[in-house]
């Protein structure tokens, strides 16, 4: 926190002026109030996680009772989940989807973002506006003709429609990368040009090396997006074979498959939340930087 020294300094300065006792008491009370409210709200935000964990350890009968605490604790639910539904198969499908989509997205979006930020050409502003427009456009606007197109290509019933689209540049990623590329000092790029680098070399050596955090953020967002994506996968594989489903579709149909009980459903829910939460704790910095990049510099 860069603000800490400033406030401490000003507090020290105030202390020298002998803050009246009443003011100090007021400050303390305010701080206590702030913390209590924050803790109360934080507990409310944590509560759903707690209930999901507790329910996932109950017996089927208990999950329908008013009990809140599991008794006995049934760890076996986490084995049973895998026996009731092809969760591993769904996970594999999701991983293929996330992996291929993210790879294609990076390969196609990085050069576009570079051209939009560091190359000068007529129509650059227009192209950037089009990127923004496609980012804002609701998916449902284009979905009918796209569905028809993919069905003519015989790809409905597979995840290829959702994967292939990302190989041709993703608007949000282009936007985010462009914002970051703009912050790279021109001197680095000029120096590379003077050294006789072509634009491609500049991109692969100078820009990519400097933009690692932004690329990491874009990759992370893409993986998360694919992991959570629901509307388009539902459209393309939702009616098809259970074995083609990604995790998101599978989980939403989990209860319907065999009239599964809530305890197992919550165990599956938690299992689906877990990878995302683990990724978050491993890559917290990347996340927060990436999100701020979308909001503040936009």
């Amino acid at each position: 926190m860069t603000t800490a020294p400033v406030t401490m300094e000003s507090q020290a300065a105030l202390a020298r002026r002998k803050v009246p006792w009443t003011v100090r008491r007021r400050r303390l009370l305010l701080s206590v109030a702030d913390h209590s409210v924050a803790i109360a709200v934080a507990l409310m935000f944590l509560l759903p996680f707690v209930f999901i964990v507790l329910t996932s350890l109950m017996t089927a009968r208990q999950s329908l009772s008013p009990d809140i605490w599991p008794n006995p604790i049934r760890w076996r639910n986490y084995v049973d989940v895998f026996l009731t539904a092809p969760l591993l198969r769904w996970t594999a499908n999701t991983m293929v989807y996330c992996g291929l989509a993210t790879l294609g997205l990076l390969l196609s979006s990085i050069p576009v973002a570079y051209a939009l930020s560091r190359l000068r050409w007529r129509g650059r502003q227009v192209a950037f506006l089009i990127v923004l427009a496609t980012m804002m456009l609701p998916q449902q606007v284009t979905v009918v003709p796209l569905y028809v197109m993919w069905s003519k290509l015989g790809l409905v019933g597979t995840l290829w429609p959702v994967i292939l689209v990302t190989w041709f540049g993703d608007a949000f990623s282009i936007f985010l990368l462009r914002q970051f590329f703009l912050t790279i000092p021109q001197e680095y790029i000029d120096a590379a040009r003077v050294d006789g680098c072509g634009e491609f070399r500049i991109l692969t050596t100078v820009v990519l090396r400097l933009a690692k955090p932004a690329i990491a953020a874009v990759a992370l967002f893409s993986v998360l997006y694919c992991f959570n994506d629901y509307f388009l996968p539902l459209l393309y594989v939702g009616q098809g074979d259970v074995n083609t489903w990604p995790v998101s579709i599978g989980l939403s149909q989990f209860r319907n498959l065999h009239q599964v009980q809530w305890n197992l459903t919550m165990a599956a829910t938690l299992l689906v939340m877990l990878p995302v939460i683990v990724i978050f704790f491993l890559a917290q910095k990347v996340f927060v930087e990436g999100i701020t990049l979308t909001g503040v510099k936009g």
Binding site: T3, V6, T7, H35, V37, A38, V41, F45, P48, F51, L64, S65, P66, I68, S108, L119, W121, R122, A127, I130, T134, L137, P138, Q140, V141, T142, V143, V144, P145, V148, M149, S151, V165, W167, F168, G169, R193, V194, E199, N228, Y230, F231, L234, V247, S248, Q253, R255, Q259, T265, M266, T269, V272, M273, V276, I277, V288, I291, T292, G295, V296
Partner: protein, 334 residues
């Protein structure tokens, strides 16, 4: 085309005029080639996945089309039918409800929590994590969790409310409470907006607060006259993305209706629990999905898509034009 430093430094002065011109032209073409090469995947993408479907949607909206036989031109019939379709009125009203009530609530709660966390001196890292984390919960998983937690019979929330002597509502099972339940779910997942607001609030220059304090303002006045104007671009940004998100709102409502209705339905027959209960969670995209891809009235769905496009365009434009009056851009941005 302005020359890049690279071309300016290559022998330009040393060559005779004609060669110089030719070299320049060649360099310009090379640059154009580079730009085209860098843009090529995206150019294809924009054409095939945006341009073409947009035009096609407009065309299909004037036809009867079921993806089996060729589209048949029926003029404005699809648009005329909208006035007689009882479902679309419900869907539009529900979606407008989201924009009118849910979006302001999301923005307010994200802002409120951000201000709270910015005020808290100890454990701010912990609070940041707690408020951000739910945003990561996959929407389907979060929805399942909430449908269980808020289940009216023996769900934990109603059990706790009962202990406090309060008769809990029917949540996802009642037409009055289903949308507020979805809003609760949305507020729980407010993390992204929260982080954006937090960064903005922490970015407000300290000296502004200090001079306001010297002027004898109280905390509320400082929030109103210092914080709000300074972060107004971020407020605008969050309103725009929330509105766009509200227009596309699908997953949570669709899954909640599906699970809460408790029908043993495959992904196929959502018609049974469309907008359960009583159409209260039937949002515009859900109806579009149902009409276009379950009933295969693809011409009609295209007409709905065109309407959605116009609405999205209009709403964004209205907000952006209006924003000039209340958004304050600080020195550097302008």
């Amino acid at each position: 085309m302005s020359a890049t430093p690279a071309t300016r430094t290559t022998f330009v002065g040393a060559l005779p005029a004609a060669d110089r011109r030719r070299a320049k032209a060649r360099a310009a073409w090379r640059r154009r080639g580079v730009v085209a090469a860098f843009l090529s995947p995206w150019l294809v993408g924009v054409t095939v996945f945006f341009g073409y479907p947009l035009v096609m949607s407009v065309y299909l909206s004037f036809t009867h089309f079921d993806n089996l036989s060729a589209p048949r031109w029926i003029g404005l019939a699809n648009y005329r039918y909208m006035f007689h379709d009882p479902m679309i009125g419900v869907a539009v009203r529900n979606s407008l409800w989201l924009m009118a009530f849910a979006v302001p609530l999301y923005v307010l709660s994200a802002f409120g929590i951000a201000v709270l966390v910015a005020r808290v001196k100890t454990g701010s890292g912990f609070f940041r994590t707690v408020f951000y984390l739910p945003a990561l919960a996959p929407p389907v998983a979060a929805t399942l969790g909430f449908v269980y937690i808020l289940n009216p019979a023996n769900g934990p929330i109603n059990v706790i409310l009962a202990h406090l002597g309060i008769q809990g509502p029917l949540w996802f099972q009642s037409p009055e409470w289903s949308k507020p339940s979805l809003v609760l779910l949305g507020i729980w997942g407010i993390g992204n907006l929260f982080i954006i607001f937090l960064a903005a609030v922490l970015d407000v220059p300290k000296h502004l607060y200090e001079s306001a304090e010297l002027d004898g303002t109280n905390a509320l006045q400082r929030l109103r006259y210092v914080t709000l104007p300074t972060i107004s671009p971020v407020i605008l940004f969050s309103i725009v993305i929330s509105i766009i998100a509200a227009m596309q709102y699908f997953t949570q409502a669709y899954v909640a209706a599906n699970i809460a209705s408790g029908q043993a339905s495959q992904a196929g027959d959502i018609t049974v629990n469309l907008g359960f209960p009583q159409g209260s969670t039937l949002f515009y995209p859900i109806l579009l999905y149902n009409d276009g891809f379950r009933a295969f009235a693809m011409g009609y769905a295209s007409a709905m898509a065109v309407l959605l496009f116009i609405a999205a365009f209009a709403v964004t434009a209205i907000i952006l034009v209006n924003s000039r009056r209340w958004v304050h851009y600080g020195g550097a941005v302008r």
